[in-house]
Amino acid sequence: MFHSGEIYAIILALLFAVAAGLVGSFALMKRMLLASDVISHVALPGLGLAFLFHFNPLLGGSATLLVGTLLIWQLQKQTGLATEAMIGVVFAGSVAIGAVLTPKEDLVEALFGRFQDLSLVAFLVGAAAVLLIILVIFRFRDELILGLFAPELAAATGMKLERLNLYFLLAFSLSVLVGLRFLGALLAGSLIIIPATTSRRLTNNLSHFLVVSCLASVVAVGSGFAVTRYMLPQISPGPVIVIISAALFILSLLKKPAPA
């Protein structure tokens, strides 16, 4: 039977999967999917410091992630370079600092995550973060759609695109942060990338795209936990979840792509 700490951890992971599916869909449309993979690495120096000085790794991860996100947003605004380029610059430094700071015995956990029970408080904080991400996406859904379709049309409609980009980047980083606990810095971005890519292959309808992306993400997380609990208890669920997610993508290749 599951005990409460396990149940909290699994529910939070499933909630995260929904948020990752939504954020991933918009990140794919914004052509910044790879950013999720890279931005998660920005958490590494924080995780390293937390392991080194024995405080909550999420606290360390969130601090450096927030600084990294704001830095990327500022650099992007001031230099006019693409998000990808900016993330590349911030990321390389972060990984190097993270590798130096993280004690060797904790490096695998920092990179690949670990399944651990959650206290009620940790669960509630995590769930609040996920709900915030979902709310931000739904609240700004129309602005995001118009900003993606034609930025100058959106600006002419009175939208503040820079502020919108910041909100999205923060929601994006927050979802990476929630995923860090069980997927680790190396894989936390993958649930943002893979389900959205799978879903995009299957549909051209926006609502279907968002729903299928969330579903693919939830199925990967749910079955990943089931596999590691009942069949491979010695393995951390993170990599298994990512493998299942990638398998779903390969399955999607069997279907003809939706007409563009």
Binding site: M29, R141, D142, E143, I145, L146, L148, F149, A150, E152, L153, A155, A156, T157, M159, R200, T203, N204, N205, L206, F209, A258, P259, A260
Partner: protein
Amino acid sequence: MTPILSVRDLTISFGNRTIIQHLNFAVDPGDNLAIIGPNGAGKTVLLRALLNLLPYEGAIQWAPDAKLGYVPQKIAADRRLPLYVNDLLAAKARLLKLPAQDVRLVADRVGLTPELLETSVGILSGGEFQKALIAFALLGDPNVLLFDEPTASLDELAEEHIYELLRDLQRERHLTLLLVSHDLSVVYQSATKVLCLSKGKPCFGPPREILTPETLEAVYSAPLKFYKHYGH
């Protein structure tokens, strides 16, 4: 008549490069202003400044009751997104807090069928896509429409439909039109004022004064063939 738009001493620069310098003109309600000029003369830049999307020096003054609708160049839109026409129109309607039936009304007005509303923007023809952009601009009931190259890369029939639609809309809704156009014959027929931008001095006035072979040659820095359509 109080102008709906007055532009005084407008200068727009990017870094060291000045695109528009000391430009002055005014547009009255109901005018059809055609903005012409060679590539790189600053036509799109001017529209963007009028929409307050660019920093500029000088004064751009819209009348307090001016409500702007904008139709950008088609290439400024990303058509690879998983979006139906209806997604775009409904998104703008929700942002402006308009009733949902407004989407159907503007779609009907520009000739977008329910099937086209449920079609991916990526597979619309050039003319259909242009109609979708016009419907988007019409949501919110603007009284000024700024239009960047309405018929670029359209075939003649689609081009004719778009101009006909614009003329009808202008008549029905008493719209003021600001149109960037390369089609001088259409400009001659329908514009009430012409603003020409070029590397030299800009010129502004009624078509009969501005669209002379001499002025056009100076604007485009090349001899132009130009046909007047009498009887229209």
